[in-house]
Symmetry: C2
Subunit: 160 residues, 2 copies
Amino acid sequence: MRETPPTAADPWDEVPGRLRARGLRWTPQRRTLLAVLAATRGHVTGAELVERCRAMDPATIPSTVYRTLDVLEELGIVRHAHGLDGREEFHVLPAADHGHIWCSGCLGTWDVHADEAAALVAVLAQRRGFRVDLSHLSVVGLCEGCAGEGQPGREAQRAG
Amino acid sequence: MRETPPTAADPWDEVPGRLRARGLRWTPQRRTLLAVLAATRGHVTGAELVERCRAMDPATIPSTVYRTLDVLEELGIVRHAHGLDGREEFHVLPAADHGHIWCSGCLGTWDVHADEAAALVAVLAQRRGFRVDLSHLSVVGLCEGCAGEGQPGREAQRAG
DNA sequence: GCAGTTGTTGCAACTTTTTGCAATAGCATT
DNA sequence: AATGCTATTGCAAAAAGTTGCAACAACTGC
């Protein structure tokens, strides 16, 4: 077998230690949520995470999940942005910092790479000293397909 | 007396007609909300609007307000974006299309002028054919003051 | 001015998330 | 292994919106 890399092969293995290092605790409920998150790709809403946790442990309490998500966000293990309807969309272990765009027509979503947002970030930094949280950036509008087929006017559709 | 301008001196006076032109109706409940909106500057949440309507008419029903806001948004009379916590923030009669920035430290908010977002809008249009809805754009991060005093790291604070 | 059409309202139930608080249970220490 | 400190949990209630549906009432046409 291989040697274990210095900083742990699986980043999830570091979580209990990082919690304890801050005086926080590693509980069964947190173990459940972490297991769910480890199996998650892309975006998930809080409600979806609650549901998935309940699938693993029917005794799951929503408020515990939401509070744990707050803790994990402080540790940088998850990040959240807001979907079309403003609902929180969680994002696991962000490899590269990026934002999101949402099409209000087809409800599709895509990543916005850092370089695409670089100009906005730079302008706000220079003109206002504002530091943009890129992972929280959600840009809403119409994707190519929806912009084409719909009226050339504006989009008024709302997410359901 | 003066001549009335072709397109009505007060834009609010046009609303009943624009509703009827679409086969929609001008009701007392809508009159109340419009009166509240006419007296509103800057941002308001849906809940605040419900409260203000209730001040004028205690019989106000929340769902009626929210549904009317949807209609008014389709007419372009209000627009909404999302605040720090994802809650809807309505914006009356947008003179110039603009976005918003929110400081997750002090909860302050400022307008983002179209030219500040121009580069982002242009990049997404060119690279993806995506049409950004600028009035829906909410950029979160730390303002100059909060970025300075806090740790140079990241912001983890959440709106209450 | 009356009647019909159908857009709106009021209501109740439900979803999603937050908050306060007492009871529970991690974890470091002894 | 027992103990204490206090972070977490579970629960219940509340806030903010949304949705389905039957009853109501604008507006159009006659």
